[in-house]
Amino acid sequence: MDPQGRVWRWRAINSALLLVLGVIVILCTTIGPAPISPGDVLLMLLRKAPVLGSCIPRGDWPDSFETIVLQMRLARVCLAVLVGAGLAASGVVLQGLLQNPMGDPYILGISSGAALGATAAMLFGLGASALGIYTIPVFAFLGAAVTAVLVYGLARVGNRAPMSTLLLAGIAAGSFLSALTSYAMITSGENIHQVIFWLMGGLAGRGWDYVLVLLPYSVVSFTLMCVFARHLNVMLLGEEPAQHLGIDVERLKQIMLGAATLAAASAVAVSGVIGFVGLIIPHAVRLLVGPDHRVLLPASILTGAIFLVAADALARVAAAPEEIPVGVITALCGGPFFIYLLRKKGSAGF
């Protein structure tokens, strides 16, 4: 393929996904007890745009609708965008680094670490006064980050951390921390319901403050990943071959593991453990656009966002007025889809 054609193809794919994301964000913002049309949502959004916004006439919707859309629903949808994007991006990077299509943001024990942190915060009310609503996210993030650093430290042999060792250390640490979490849960008694709900993952009741907390982490980690996307391609040849092609493998691994941990840990911190997004989305997108990370990463980020926004909408309406944890929805969709992929691809590689 000539270089120009390839670049245009990549741009077309990402533009199309961006368009789908825009449409789905607006559609999902309309979902809820108050009947607000997609057109009105679009107008409300456009009116918020700088300069252009003042030229757009206000529709005949009540003021409360504007509050519902802009303050509540849109914040939640935007949070779904960032969380879905973060999990998918983290999945892409870990699958690439592990050269294993089974890679997942949680494979290094991040989810177990976050769960333990969050459980500790909920059950023992640690630091609640100082951190306010951020208590759980902060503890979850710390739990995840500390676990990732610990796992990397455990896997280190000399000045190298072989990916296979990293994988095993991650699994071991994950099991250990999950056991601690389970123990904490059964000894706690009354708060157990809250913990279980958090563990299943959900976005209910999260506002703009969560979005603003998550945003810088997402921007930093996505930027790092995309900068090193071409190098990540070369890593798929194996660590020594990548080194032969001039890549400082250990440093790249540290940067990418750091970025993937940041993306996943920050997402888990605000939303709880939402499974399968980081495993399924990279797979599905790879089938669509190929394995080149320069297109796979942005496309997965967008697709992860689209998927989680849609899944969260489903979580809201499927058993209304009750809400289903969105982690349940993603697992219900993700499990069968994964099996479908396995059956379809067989052992032919990904």
């Binding site: 900068v227 090193f228 092609l245 001039g246 990904f350």
Partner: protein, 419 residues
């Protein structure tokens, strides 16, 4: 400017185990060097150390007189490419995308591939005969094709040095030759320095200008293939007996295995004299020696194939000058050997005026009561250039009780039945 690669007093360890020790060598610019040695002698370790992935425990690897391990990986990758034994890629990149990865060291962090890079990849695909695979996923091509693609990727690096670790050990003979010919061409035309770890001594002997023979983590010897590949050196390093011959076409040393395990108990101490010459007896001589018979041969013209075979097997022989008739002197010596033998075997040789005495010698053997076996791969009428005299003597042999056998295998069978 061409790049030089040197090792000085190199030592490498895996953990506490010292794998290489005290290696000093200079890979000359534009040379084609083979690294050979038995399993575990440190060939691959040496290559890993040369390729900047295994930091030496002592000594140094110098690229252009600078410490290889002090240079940035990217600087090294611009000058040196590595082809591993086997490359597994789990993700379905196309062949073209894989080869394009070879451009990686030449691209800046934010730089995409340019037209120039695509043109180069195209040229490399032509060279390696992978053009037709360009759009195929790397996961869906054969092992031979994949290895060609990996070589193409290495070439896309525009390296001045290429290191290869047994690049052809998983390939069919045609693909082996294809890849090695390609390397030879690059070596000759682009003056690339090529360093290859070889398992196959014949390939090493065929393609390399110089060889580095390793033994137990040290350099046993270095030099031209003719100097390194001798039966003695191989016996010493590999512990295996081989015959070294000059390749009939290339003149390079060719290594042939001796199936020593086939020794026959019946052969123990039995002396067999083989009447042969010109090449008709070479295979028979080798097999008899292999089975453990005490073999003598005559009358052989110096320089012919039977003579060379007998010499490399260190057999006792009667010699005659090239293309000369059997003299009275050598005839006598021949008879002497027959007298000392338990059995006399005559190969399926053509007869002319020059060697008709051989037939007379064998008739005498029968007269002395020695068993005589005739190997008859071709009818005597078809190899009689004496105008009928040889046929007469041959028939006399048969009448007197010489046993006719079709080929060397039949001779061996018959011999094992003789008391």
């Amino acid at each position: 400017m061409a790049v030089t690669l040197k090792i000085i007093d190199l030592a490498c360890s895996y953990g506490a185990t010292r794998v290489l020790d005290g290696l000093t060598f200079s890979f000359a610019r534009g040379s084609f060097t083979g690294i050979i040695g038995p399993n575990g002698s440190g060939k691959s370790t040496l290559l890993r150390s040369l390729s900047r992935v295994l930091k030496p425990a002592g000594g140094a690897v110098l690229l252009d007189d600078r410490d290889l391990y002090a240079l940035h990986a990217r600087e090294v990758a611009k000058k040196m490419a590595v082809v591993p034994q086997e490359t597994a890629v789990n993700f379905s990149f196309t062949v073209e995308e894989i080869i394009m990865m070879g451009r990686s060291p030449h691209l800046g962090r934010f730089q995409g591939e340019s037209e120039k890079d695509f043109a180069l990849v195209n040229r490399v695909m032509e060279l390696t005969n992978t053009r037709h695979l360009a759009r195929r996923p790397i996961t869906a091509i054969s092992g031979g094709e994949r290895q060609r693609v990996i070589v193409a990727k290495a070439l896309a690096q525009e390296p001045e040095i290429i290191l290869l670790d047994e690049p052809t050990s998983h390939l069919d003979i045609n693909h082996q030759v294809e890849i090695l010919n390609l390397l030879k061409r690059l070596n000759r035309e682009e003056h690339a320095t090529v360093v290859v770890v070889f398992h196959d001594l014949n390939l090493a002997g065929q393609y390399c200008d110089s060889l580095l023979l390793m033994q137990k983590g040290r350099i046993y010897m270095t030099g031209k293939p003719e100097k390194v590949l001798t039966a003695d050196h191989i016996k010493e390093v590999y512990g295996t007996s081989v015959i070294i011959r000059k390749h009939p076409v290339t003149g390079r040393p060719a290594v042939m295995l001796l199936a020593r395990g086939l020794q026959d108990a019946a052969a123990e101490g039995k002396r067999v004299h083989v009447v042969c010459g010109g090449g008709a007896g070479a295979s028979l001589l080798e097999q008899l020696a292999n089975y453990g018979y005490d073999v003598t041969a005559g009358v052989l013209n110096t320089g012919d194939i039977d003579w060379e075979t007998a010499r490399s097997l260190e057999l006792k022989t009667v010699e005659e000058a090239p293309f000369s008739s059997i003299t009275e002197q050598s005839h006598k010596e021949n008879l002497e050997l027959i007298k000392n033998a338990d059995v006399c075997v005559m190969a399926s040789i053509p007869f002319g005026r020059g060697n008709i005495k051989n037939l007379e010698a064998v008739i005498l053997a029968l007269d002395w009561g020695k068993p005589v076996l005739l190997m008859e791969e071709q009818k005597i009428e078809e190899r009689d250039y004496t105008g009928g005299q040889a046929v007469l003597l041959y028939n006399e042999l048969k009448n007197k009780g010489a046993v006719v056998n079709q080929d060397a295998t039949a001779i061996l069978d018959t011999l094992s039945l003789l008391k």
